[in-house]
């Protein structure tokens, strides 16, 4: 069970006109979250209107790239087992992602993680997370 998670190649994201900017930032290895200039809410996934107050006065803001695991699951039915997770970012919102560079049984809820990008299957790289702090290595 201490086997490392395999190198799974994520499917290519399919941006819409609303999310081109998010994925262009990902090309530069930046993780962006939504920020409402009306009510101040930080949110994920990014969208043109604030999901709290419906203001269109919104923009993208770079996340610092640290967070903690809110929940996770190892997909064993796949050829290469992989870890799906929700990571709560330092800025507040929780996002779906993968945990990488980690032995399967070392993942735990509450574990600190830091941002890395992995190449997708022909699209923009996608933001994933690896163990951080004392959990790293």
């Amino acid at each position: 069970m201490t086997e490392p998670l395999g190198k799974r190649i994520p499917a290519a994201p399919e941006p819409t006109v609303e999310t081109v900017e998010y994925w262009q930032a990902a090309d530069a290895h930046k993780l962006m979250i939504g920020r409402c200039h009306g009510c101040g809410e930080a949110y994920f996934y990014p969208r043109s209107r604030c999901p709290r107050c419906l203001s269109a006065d919104t923009g993208l803001e770079q996340a610092e790239g640290s967070g903690t695991v809110y929940s996770y699951s190892i997909m064993r039915r796949a050829k290469i087992p992989y870890a799906i997770a929700y990571v709560t970012l330092a800025e507040g919102p929780t996002m779906m992602t993968n945990i990488v560079d980690c032995a399967i049984d070392h993942i735990s809820i509450g574990m600190p993680v830091s941002l890395v990008f992995v190449e997708s299957d022909g699209g923009s790289p996608v933001p994933v997370f690896k163990p951080a702090g004392e959990f790293a290595g």
Binding site: E41, Y43, Y45, S71, S73, R77, P93, N98, V126
Partner: protein, 389 residues
């Protein structure tokens, strides 16, 4: 205005097939509609309302009404996944109360097994314009590992165990042995569930519902029509429906939209969970049942694992008889949608027409609960409370 006592369920029909390789989707709808009308003792010409979901063939209700040669005054093709039909029973009751119709038929059918055998694609091919999926599909998010995220968090917060999850499946199998149509009629143990292959931690294969073809239909009528029909009358007492989602990233996977839909349904019905004699609880996965039982108030939040353990859901044995047809875990799960069969078994219990070994004695009040979508991301929930007349 309330729908309490404004409408009755007068006809039900569950398609006997579990593999519809030689039955088209439209024909499945035709079969279940004809079956439910016959059960009610009504004719096609009596029907003046039609309800279906977005999986109905062609243009949905338009194509189906053409296929059936039917003319109605009230049409609804709505979509909240497997919860659709519970909401449609209530919407039909609302339209009946408003005088818009007297006899509604609600139809669902699906043939994912036949489609897969014919080279069909994975379920639910959402269009790329779907705003959320580009942030989820690259990570390999599927229904099973999304529900697993909720299960894992439930275990972390409340100490729920894999053994407790397994008890949901064990209870379903105890019921399924008495259902000659059940796909998985063999009684299983907690050890069997824990010994089945891990699919997505902490969910084993036996924590997951089956995939089947088939469908079902329900006839909802006004009380005056119901009074003249042959089947025992089942009254619609209360309903609630709600959607829960990621909320912009403020995510809490420990509860479902059943917390909202259940509260509304109990308030409308004027009853409490302890009044319920039988419950159909959507069982896409074992965690789905535990979460909804808590959210509906059958036990405190976090106590769901203990509530279902040691046969807690087995009819005649446990605290609350749940899914006495074997449910989606053992009987059938047509079209990846569990709600229709949930209503049908609740009506059977209220009529006294469940399998004798699982029939709840003097069953007066039943609850049906369904969920559509994913507990781990976004889902609809709907609750119906029904009463024997």
């Amino acid at each position: 205005m309330s729908i309490r006592n404004q409408a009755c369920i007068a006809g039900i029909y569950e398609h006997p097939t579990r593999n519809a390789a030689d039955i088209s989707l439209a024909a499945l709808h035709g079969d279940v509609i004809a079956g439910a009308l016959a059960d009610a003792g009504l004719d096609k010409g009596d029907v003046d309302g039609f309800f279906c979901d977005s999986d109905a063939p062609g243009l949905g209700a338009l194509s189906m009404l053409d296929y059936l040669g039917m003319r109605v005054r009230h049409v609804e093709a709505s979509e909240s996944g497997g919860a659709t039909y519970l909401s449609q029973v209530a919407h039909a009751a609302e339209a009946i109360a408003a005088g818009k119709m007297k006899v509604a038929v609600i139809s669902m059918a699906g043939r994912p097994r036949a489609d897969a055998a014919a080279g069909g694609v994975a379920p639910r091919p959402f269009p790329p314009s779907t705003p959320d999926l580009q942030f989820e599909l690259p990570y390999g998010a599927e229904l099973v590992n999304e529900y697993a995220l909720a299960a894992m968090r439930h275990m972390y917060e409340y100490g729920t165990t894999a053994e407790q999850l397994a008890w949901v499946k064990v209870a379903a199998s105890h019921h399924a042995q008495h259902n000659p149509l059940a796909m998985l009629p063999k009684v299983v143990t907690v050890e069997d569930v824990l010994g089945s292959p891990m699919i997505a931690d902490p969910l084993h294969r036996m924590d997951c519902c089956i995939v089947s073809d088939g469908g079902g239909a329900i006839v909802v009528v006004s009380p005056d029509v119901a009074a003249s029909l042959k089947q025992p009358v089942v009254k619609v007492l209360g309903h609630g429906e709600a959607v829960k989602h990621q909320n912009g990233g403020q995510i809490d996977l420990t509860f479902s939209a059943a917390a909202y839909s259940g509260a509304d349904a109990f308030a409308e019905a004027g009853v409490t969970p302890s009044d319920i004699d039988y419950a159909s609880i959507y069982d896409s996965f074992t965690i789905t049942v535990i979460t909804q039982l808590e959210d509906l108030g059958f036990c405190a939040k976090g106590d769901g694992g203990r509530f279902v353990a040691d046969g807690g859901l087995i009819s005649g044995v446990g605290r609350l008889p749940v899914n006495t047809d074997g449910g989606g875990l053992c009987n059938n799960h047509p079209g990846y949608r569990g709600g229709m069969t949930k209503i049908i078994e609740a009506v059977r219990q209220l009529r006294g027409q469940a399998a004798p070994q699982v029939q709840v004695k003097n069953c007066r009040l039943a609850l049906a609960q369904a969920m559509g979508g994913s507990l781990g991301t976004r889902h609809a929930a709907a609750t119906l409370i029904l009463e024997r007349h």
